[in-house]
Subunit: 347 residues, 2 copies
């Protein structure tokens, strides 16, 4: 599936230990945030060789160049050489940023992803996308670079709140919608996230994502399927990041999937029943934070500056029936506004 | 030789024009510095499609994150998408930094190197090493990423001073010393840089470098041959960068080659006659800027933090006879100090 091992399951930390014993790294840094320092690091620590830790404040607003500079400084100060290793213990922020720092320090040292959130376990752990936010644009600066290994230990999920679990479910839902119609028909009957067998869902999501990424690692075509929900979702996420009540990534993507399903229906690609089924399922899971219409113009502007665009057109991945997509579909600002109206009016 | 075209010669700009006509880039940015804006850009401009330019102040001290931020901001402001192109028109600073910015903007857009100095034509143009300086360490943050094309137009060299030409000659000399004993025996008879056929030397250097890089693109082994002169040379360059009279890169590497030849002889790898021949030739070309002994401790510290090191050892590429090298040779701080004494005492 991938060029590097993905250890999933209750023995994942033991297998990481064996992996590290085979490699002889000259130094190991464990990157944590305020949460994983307290909740996850003590669980990982017994499985590691000698190492140091470095803590970044929690949250997407710290996924920026200033944090990178602090980590680069630490690596420099500790005289990390090219045989050093960075272990990223945390969610998407830690994984994306720690990976980017490692991939650019001395033109690249090894890193291992140990995702601790459902979101990062099913999404950020596969695909080699690394990066940081820049001037309000998500992942605007970054590289493609694969880790040496990914370690998915489901017990880390016990440290999460229900809100965080739900955020991760957004990508699980997405993987069903873009690639597994039958799976969606089962999933849509679920009413409670804690009742789900998460390890099975993680394996399912990683299988779908890694198959897509293998076929198109640099996102020239097929991989754009994974962007469903993300053109509008990212724009919403960035917009709310500047308010006093930011959304979690998955919460924004959930709204993005409702909006882009509305556009998919408007373009004649899915039925009204399918659209309403998706919207109803997501709304039941996530509740419905209001998007003030005063945000619309800026959300549209942000969507226009999305990395996936070309030549000033907003290119979006739409559903083409459940389980399939049509990528590089041009959408208009008025469609975004109307899709947000549809979302806001959901009862 | 390489995975991308290298256009060398009087028709190089015409071939660039044809290349750009085949690709349909959504936007083109030409990155220049204060010198190339005036001296080189007017020569290149007629061969380009619609484009904008962005100017960075000249000099190595501007090869830093702040300059990157300005270029990233410009690309963002101009709404460059993933089908955009950056053309780097300048020496190593512009090429290394502009390449790094392109390779990380939206996780990587295309870039073309148009090196305008002898140094960048024979060195930076091949090998995919990109990066910026960080806290006094050269190229401390960067990536490996190949350009779409390299354009070497020898007439740009007419814009250079003798000092700049000589700086570039350091890498030409290095390529002879590490890989072409017969070539060195011819080159060492030269007394005047302006008497040389530069286009032939450029082709010779690019051939040697690209053969080495092809065999070992990520510098796991053989490629380290190219680091001859650079462990001590980089440290000297960084040190002088903080004075009021910085050295050009090649000037520092020239001193580094003398120092590392002295160590090569001390380690029994080259004869005293060979060492003195190298030192005499380089000194004749470059003159001999004094290195105050008060600089020695910091130069040693900088060498210790060189990217090529492992586990606190200073690993250096030494000559193993002329035309061959022994890489990953551990050297001691006292050897660096003595080699600098040798250099300072050259008559």
């Amino acid at each position: 599936m991938t060029n590097y091992p993905i250890y999933i399951g209750s023995d994942a930390l033991l297998r990481l230990k064996e992996f590290l014993e085979q490699r002889k790294y000259s130094g190991v840094l464990v990157l944590v945030d305020a949460n994983t320092q307290v909740l996850c690091y003590p669980l990982l620590q017994p499985f590691l060789p000698a190492h140091s830790t470095f803590e970044i404040p929690s949250g997407e607003i710290h996924k920026n160049l200033n944090s990178c500079i602090k980590i680069w400084e630490h690596l420099t100060h500790e005289a990390f050489d090219r045989k050093g290793l960075v272990i990223n213990l945390g969610g998407g922020v830690i994984g994306d940023m720690g990976g980017f720092v490692a991939a650019t320090y001395k033109r690249g040292i090894d890193f291992i992803q140990v995702p601790t959130t459902l979101l990062s376990q099913v999404d950020a752990s596969v695909g080699g996308k690394l990066g940081i936010d820049f001037q309000g644009y998500k992942n605007h600066i970054g590289v493609f670079c694969e880790p040496q290994a990914v370690v998915i230990w489901p017990e880390f999920l016990d440290t999460l709140t229900r809100r965080e679990l739900l955020s991760g479910m957004a990508e699980v839902i997405k993987h069903h919608l873009i690639a597994d119609r039958e799976g969606w028909n089962r999933l849509k009957l679920t009413r409670e996230v804690f009742a789900l067998k998460l390890e099975d869902l993680i394996r399912h999501s990683i299988k779908i994502k890694s198959d897509i990424v293998q076929a198109d690692p640099l996102e020239k075509g097929l991989r754009k399927a994974l962007n469903f929900g993300h053109t509008i979702g990212h724009a919403i996420e960035s917009q709310f990041l500047e308010t006093s009540h930011p959304l979690l990534h998955g919460e924004a993507i959930a709204i993005g999937m409702i909006a882009e399903s509305w556009i998919s229906h408007q373009e004649g690609l899915i039925s009204q029943a399918e659209r309403d089924e998706i919207a109803g399922f997501i709304k039941n899971f996530y509740g419905k934070p209001e998007i003030p219409s005063s945000f619309y113009p800026e959300i549209c502007d942000r969507a226009l500056n999305d990395k996936k665009n070309q030549k000033g057109k907003i290119l979006c991945t739409l559903l083409d029936g459940i389980g399939k997509v049509r990528f590089d579909s041009e959408i208009r600002k008025t469609q975004i506004e109307k899709s947000l109206d549809f979302y806001n009016l959901l009862s």
